[in-house]
């Protein structure tokens, strides 16, 4: 370990500068619109003010803008927990099915253009869940329709009546999708053309009526299959089935070789777009049901946020005053260490958003962070009280300080480990909201141990060094 306080000091200063850069606000644009009198000319100045603190990162190729990742309760949005109905999937294929469902959902959400969605899966003994967080989306209905529909497309035709081969291929009539019997007849069978054969689905508008329609473009294989189906069903009805319901049952007038089909139906532009998106993303391998859903409007969170941040800053100031009053010069050092601690922790939150393990800040998470500021001084107090005691016992200042740090370390370690244990438990057992709090608390505790021990000690040693510093320099 680096023993020389001077080296440590410079490392800490360097770290602080980096951290400051991460935390600084970005470039701001100053704009002035006014009229110059007499000349009566309009002045329109737009100057970019401030500096880009990330310029030193450019050579590294990073074009990062550091911001906090806000939780749903601060930003507003929808969170839905789905349960995947695995009853038709064999046990060993279930994990795969869940992963497949997750990627289909992600594709659908991306196609629909939701910013920064979060889709997670959770498995616990035969309970397969998908948790979807959609920041900024407040129309639950739309979200559920988009995500929850299985969107399984199939094409059905009339089966050649009563031949043994046909019957074995046919699903039993009870498994017929709704509307088959009315459209096709008593005996129907599914063809081998399904949603998997779709190349592209898009929304078109009927040139005559202006109504929205969904156009299906098949892949080359699909086009072949479609051509075969239409060829053998000329003048008969072919049913287009979506999710076990007949949506279209046209009579085939001629063989279609172009590989295109159109579903007319009763679409609104919105529902047509939804269906096209679902078909493009692919069918969900399993049906989903809703276990819980939350829709939070953004105003609720942002008011609380302002107030809580204000309270946090107030608390910060109170602590600094408190420390300086109680411990004098040592208190000032501790306050500086506290500032570094705050900046460092905030920077970690910001930087983490670049990694896949981004830390989401919820309101309770921010409360947890403020709490950890209060606890960060704890360690310093333990050290200083211990130091005072050693001074009372007659030791010299430098030695009292060293003893203060080393003797207090055991207490600090033990008590912070207790908090870390509870944070871990919270993280394991909690839902998203609680997880955020636990993570923030744990990081706060770890960084506060670092700041109290290493940062404070370095500053204190540097200032009060005296004997201990001389001894170390002689050794090195």
């Amino acid at each position: 370990m680096i023993r020389n306080p001077r080296t440590l000091f410079f490392i800490i200063i360097a770290l602080t500068i980096i951290v400051l850069c991460v935390n600084l606000p970005q470039v701001t644009t100053l704009s002035i619109h006014s009229k110059i009198p007499l000349v009566n000319k309009k002045v329109d100045i737009q100057k970019t003010v401030g500096f880009n603190p990330y310029f030193f990162l450019k050579p590294l190729g990073a074009n990062a803008s550091f911001g906090f990742k806000k939780g749903l309760d601060l930003e507003g949005g929808t969170s839905i927990t789905f349960k995947a109905d695995m009853k038709n999937i064999p046990q060993d294929r279930r994990d795969d099915a869940l992963v497949a469902a997750k990627s289909v959902i992600e594709t659908r959400i991306n196609l629909f253009g939701v910013a920064e969605p979060v889709v997670q899966t959770a498995v616990s003994t035969n309970d397969y869940r998908i948790i979807v967080d959609l920041p900024g989306v407040t129309d639950v209905n739309k979200a559920v329709n988009l995500i929850g529909t299985t969107a399984q497309l199939s094409f059905w035709e009339q089966a050649a009546s009563a031949s043994a081969e046909a019957l074995s291929q046919t699903a039993s009539p009870s498994a017929y999708p709704k509307g088959i019997v009315q459209t096709i007849g008593e005996v129907a069978k599914p063809t081998d053309l399904t949603g998997n054969d779709l190349q592209q689905t898009s929304v078109v508008f009927d040139p005559n009526t202006g109504k929205p329609q969904v156009q299906l473009n098949f892949t080359s294989d699909g086009a072949k299959k479609f051509a075969d189906i239409t060829k053998r069903n000329i003048n008969k009805i072919v049913a287009i089935v979506l999710d076990n319901q007949v949506v279209e049952a046209p009579r085939v007038s001629q063989a279609i070789l172009t590989g295109n089909a159109v579903i007319t139906g009763n679409f609104t532009p919105e529902s047509a777009r939804t269906l096209a998106t679902e078909l493009n993303a692919g069918a969900l391998p399993v049906p989903l049901s809703i276990l819980e859903q939350h829709v939070i409007g953004p105003t609720l969170g942002s008011e609380s946020l302002q107030k809580t941040l204000f309270a946090g800053i107030l608390g910060f100031i109170i602590i600094i005053v408190f420390m300086c009053v109680l411990y004098g010069r040592l208190g000032i050092i501790a306050s500086v260490a506290l500032c570094i601690y705050t900046l460092l922790t905030l920077a970690i939150f910001k930087v983490s958003t670049l990694t896949p393990y981004g830390i989401t800040l919820t309101l309770s998470g921010i409360a947890g962070f403020i709490l950890s500021i209060g606890m960060a001084v704890d360690a310093n107090i333990l050290i200083f009280e211990r130091t005072k005691e050693e001074l009372r016992r007659g030791r010299t200042k430098p030695i009292a300080i060293e003893l203060g740090f080393s003797r207090a370390w055991e207490s600090i370690r033990d008590s912070n480990i207790a908090t870390l244990i509870t944070s871990t438990i919270l993280y394991m057992f909690g839902t998203g909201l609680v997880k955020g709090f636990a993570l923030v608390l744990a990081i706060g505790v770890l960084i506060s141990m670092f700041s109290a021990i290493i940062v404070t000690r370095t500053f204190v040693r540097l200032i009060y060094g005296g004997d201990s510093l001389k001894r170390e320099v002689r050794h090195s």
Binding site: V140, Q293, I318, S411, T419, V434
Partner: protein, 301 residues
């Protein structure tokens, strides 16, 4: 100052605070939010204050949709509707009807939690508290394993846990009373507060136990209760100051902070005050009590 000598007084104070809470807990239980019981919750903010007619109209619309178990809570311009789970269709119709009745208003939040998730959250919460407590006893027992006689590491662990249980019960008891008389709800954030309090209570207790351990090494000859008393007095400053910083921050958040985490902060405040109290006036005196009882048992053999 003789703290150990007056330990029975301090136990009495603890009981005085605990018993009403425990009675309330047994009689009324906790007022569980939908996080635990399942159900729906809609938060609506209107342009003007809520009056009785407003809530009556809302109630009427809900009954029209055949929504069950409805309870309304109004404060200022906001009304919170709780009920058994409602479907999206019911929700949409409800909003339409309310817009017809009241014109413009804002829906701040709409949450539905199915019963499965509800009971799951409850079980997880209880599991979390139990597991955390056990892990902490084990950690303390391990960390204090080299403590000299007459104290054994197990005793340290158990007394710390008793202090911890005391704190949890104080908070839970008070919220049982608040839940019954003021309709304050207990949600998963409350459980978070409890677990934080657990971590913090132990934090405090360890500060004192640490000193006791050190003094036992140094003042081995003196009677146990005197060693413990001296330790408490020596660490009084430390304990109070460390708790004070956290309490000051929490107070700032309580007075100036946001509405939605208000009860979370209150739970933390109560818990940490109780934690500090129990570390000084419960945990260590319990150690001494145990010691005295084991001495009596040895004498009687």
């Amino acid at each position: 100052m003789n703290i150990i000598g007056k330990k029975y007084w301090y136990f009495a104070i603890s009981l005085f605070v605990l018993v009403p809470g425990l009675i309330a807990l047994f009689l009324f239980g906790l007022n569980r939010s939908i996080d635990f019981s399942g159900g729906s919750r809609i938060t609506l903010t209107f342009k003007s204050r809520i009056f009785k007619e407003t809530t009556k109209t809302i109630q009427k619309e809900l009954t029209k949709e055949q929504v069950k178990d409805v309870s309304l809570q109004a404060s200022g311009n906001t009304v919170i509707v709780r009920s058994s789970p409602i479907t999206e269709a019911q929700h949409a119709t409800l909003l339409q009807d309310l817009h017809k009745d009241f014109g413009a208003f804002r829906e701040d939040a709409f949450e539905t939690i199915g019963p499965i998730i509800g009971s799951e959250t409850t079980i997880n919460a209880l599991k979390a508290i139990v597991v955390a407590s056990i892990l902490i006893i084990l950690y303390i027992a391990w960390s204090f394993r080299k403590v000299p006689r007459p104290a054994s590491s197990v005793r340290f662990g158990v007394c710390a846990i008793l202090a911890l249980v005391h704190d949890v019960l104080v908070v839970v008891g008070i919220f049982a009373i608040l839940g019954h008389f003021f309709r304050i709800e207990v949600d998963s954030l409350f459980v978070t507060a409890l677990l934080t309090v657990i971590g913090f209570s132990v934090h405090d207790t360890i500060v004192v136990f640490d000193r006791i351990r050190e003094n036992l090494r140094r003042m081995g000859g003196m009677p146990f209760d005197q060693v413990v008393n001296a330790s408490i007095l020596q660490t009084l400053d430390r304990s109070l100051n460390t708790s004070l910083t956290v309490l000051l921050v929490l107070l700032a958040m309580l007075l100036f902070g946001g509405e939605s985490i208000r009860w979370f902060i209150i739970a933390l405040l109560i818990g940490i005050v109780s934690g500090t109290y129990s570390s000084i006036f419960n945990a260590s005196p319990l150690l001494v009590l145990w010691h005295e009882l084991s001495l009596k048992r040895k004498k009687n053999i």
